[in-house]
């Protein structure tokens, strides 16, 4: 195994040299296998979630136990500005050495030569088989690894037991279907109309990942396949139509309500019985609902034509033009290690990607059935839809779909227009 991984590393290096990374870079990356413990370097590390500062700091500390002379400066930027800032830094060749990457952006940065190949990291103990395959693939481009999976997210339905009880509706159980969901949501909305309580709230107009990116595969449709948009596929349209139907009869809070008050706030304040959200919501809910945890629970997403959830996760990437690439690669390898990801698990903000470290995360929330998010990843998750420049079309989805969900544009028309727009955007990527 060791020899084989060494060979892969060597092959990757050869490939990089052939690809012509420039003489300066190749000299620094000629030894990514290990760096000397006495290496002196200054590195910057960029991330966006302040809830994870504790984990990041702890893992830098353990890195410094191995490499005391590498000074790591962290760089926290809120998510809303992270990508704008990173793009500007990339433009000026000033990218942070080690950074958080996500699915919609990985191919854009990888294809423009902004990220370092991580293939050589196998010799530093990174085994790609240790992470869910969907995530390893998400962070690969043209057969090269450009990101080490850091964590992953799947989606579930959080619900408020008290509202179910008050409305006289049975709580949802694993294995439930769209029809079950619809009928429960409708019953609660009818009951709660005078009190301003909705059966379900979901951010379908701003958070595709928590909403229609799940119902589309559940209806056996797809968002993107082989570089083509799936929005004109009848099955995909069925995965959108369900939201319009649910909103139309009041089962799900309409967009004007969900825009005025974000669904997670509605849920925390007892204004809706159910809420579609990712596992990352758990840490917020646990904080905000402290002392009332027992009255809340989480259940897997209802089944459509089949069972599905979208899976996404973050990755650790290294800047191709890093001045201290060898040290940066070592830091990324450390962040992807089992020890570092076990630390992530204890923090509880996101499910760590390293296989086997998830149990510790599940135990962070003993009151809730968090195991379902981990099981979903291995049993029925579908990859997050991405292309080379995802943001260009993904950002336009609400423009087309929100009127469809509100019923002002027929869903098939809106979906067809979105497909046309998306295919034009995809054609420009080549």
């Amino acid at each position: 195994m060791k020899r084989r991984s060494f060979l892969t590393g060597a092959a990757a290096l050869a490939a990089m040299a052939v690809a012509g990374c420039g003489s300066k870079e190749s000299s620094s990356s000629s030894a990514p296998a290990t760096i000397d413990p006495d290496t002196t370097a200054n590195l910057t590390l960029a991330y966006w979630d302040k809830n994870q500062t504790g984990t990041v700091t702890a893992n830098i500390k353990s890195f410094n136990e191995k490499y005391p002379k590498v000074k790591v400066t962290t760089n926290l930027t809120a998510y809303a500005d992270y990508w704008t800032k990173l793009k500007t830094q990339a433009q000026g060749n000033e990218m942070p050495d080690v950074l958080w990457m996500n699915g919609p952006h990985i191919q854009l940065y990888a294809s423009n030569g902004m990220l370092a190949s991580l293939d050589g990291l196998t010799s530093q103990g990174i085994g790609w088989g240790n992470y869910p395959k969907a995530l390893v693939d998400l962070y690969s481009f043209d057969g090269t690894h450009f990101g080490i999976p850091k964590d992953f997210d799947t989606i579930g339905v959080f619900y408020n037991k008290d509202i179910f009880k008050a409305a006289g509706v049975a709580e949802p159980k694993a294995g439930w279907t769209w029809d079950d969901f619809h009928q429960k949501a409708k019953a609660i909305s009818d009951w709660g109309k005078s009190k301003g309580v909705w059966g379900c709230a979901a951010a379908f107009n701003s958070d595709a990942q928590s909403t229609y990116y799940n119902t589309i595969p559940q209806a056996d449709g797809f968002v993107i396949k082989d570089g083509k948009s799936g929005y004109d596929d009848p099955k995909t349209i069925a995965g959108l139509q369900c939201w319009t139907d649910w909103i139309k009869d009041g089962s799900v809070a309409p967009s004007k309500v969900a825009t005025s008050t974000p669904p997670d706030q509605m849920f925390e304040n007892g204004k809706c019985a159910m809420f579609w959200g990712g596992d990352w919501m758990a840490s917020q809910l646990a904080t905000d609902l402290k002392g009332k945890e027992e009255t809340f629970q989480v259940v897997e997403l209802p089944k459509g034509a089949k069972q599905a959830t979208v899976i996404h996760g973050l990755g650790w990437s290294v800047a191709e033009k890093s001045a201290n690439k060898a040290a940066a690669l070592a830091l990324a390898a450390h962040m992807g290690s089992e020890a570092a990801q076990t630390m992530e698990a204890k923090n509880g903000t996101a499910i760590p990607a390293f296989n086997g470290t998830q149990d510790a995360w599940v135990k962070t929330y003993p009151q809730w059935d968090m195991q379902l998010f981990v099981d979903a990843a291995s049993d029925y998750a579908v990859p997050y839809p991405v292309s080379k420049n995802t943001a260009v079309w993904a950002d336009k989805e609400p423009d087309y779909l929100t009127p469809a969900f509100s019923g002002t544009t027929p869903v098939p028309t809106a979906a067809k227009n979105l497909a046309d727009f998306m295919n034009a955007a995809l054609a420009k990527e080549k």
């Binding site: 704008t84 793009k87 990339a90 433009q91 854009l108 423009n112 902004m114 301003g196 951010a203 107009n205 701003s206 958070d207 967009s255 004007k256 309500v257 825009t259 005025s260 008050t261 204004k271 420049n389 943001a391 260009v392 950002d395 609400p398 423009d399 929100t402 009127p403 509100s406």
Partner: protein, 320 residues
Amino acid sequence: MTEVGARDGRAVPSPGSASPSGRRRRGSPTSVGAWPVAFIGLLMLGVAVFYYWPIVKNLITSFQQTNAFGGDPQFVGFDNYTALFQDPGLGRAIVNTVLYTVILLLGVPLSVAISAMIELKGLRFKGLYRTVYFMPYLAMPMAVAQVWKILYNGDFGLINQVLKGLRVSNPPYWLVTPWLALISVSVFGLWCAIGFNVIILSSGLKSIPVELYEAASIDGATGLKQFRWITVPLLTPSIFFLTIMTTIGGFQLFDAIYAMISRGNPVEPQTRSLVRLFYQQAFVDSNQGGGAAIAIVILAMVAVVTVIQFIGQKKWVNYV
């Protein structure tokens, strides 16, 4: 403006000719000539580097297509402009921007009335009123926008709670209803601007000679007549300044709309301003050439409107 400049122009040569011996100690006329150039030169260097060069660079970029990171620029002629003028979003963005600017301009007469009342003779707590009106200008617009967003909230907002208390049965979702959303944001923008307007106008009011009011009183002009025939005409330089600043500010509308009408809001596409459109193109869609073309359109529109305002001012602005 020109009169003042002319007076200064006449004043400069006089010291040299009138009393040469007395002034010599303070420096020769040549050093007086060199220093201003040095001071202005430094300033101009900054202006050139941080204002004119970006404009030139932006103009060049508007004729280019680049990759997502601004690299690999290719000249594409007028392609970016052609695409922009075919974009149905542009017309709506211009309408929205103009509507916003017009509502913001309503703040100028409103501010004149407020500042005239604050400066009324014999009014107590003037300092307090000035502070109260100026405070919103000091607060961070993004933070204040969040508070207004809560006020406007369709279900729990204070405005709708009051309306419901007044037995209005179905008060609107202010920020989620077409047109109403833009007007709501404009009202917020107007509220933010009043503080600055009032400070400028208050200092303008103080520079009006008291004798004019006294003479008017002797002639029997009442308070309202004095306001109409003395205060307003003599405030016109300040009013003109505010009109220019408000128009430019209106055309640059971004933060208020970005903070109050987020992506995913069903009316967001219909409420985009020109700068919001620019942001979308340049930073979200990674189309820097297209974004640069919008920036040029904004620059041209602001320039034209400002020139028109400067030509028009001769008809209504009085410089004492």
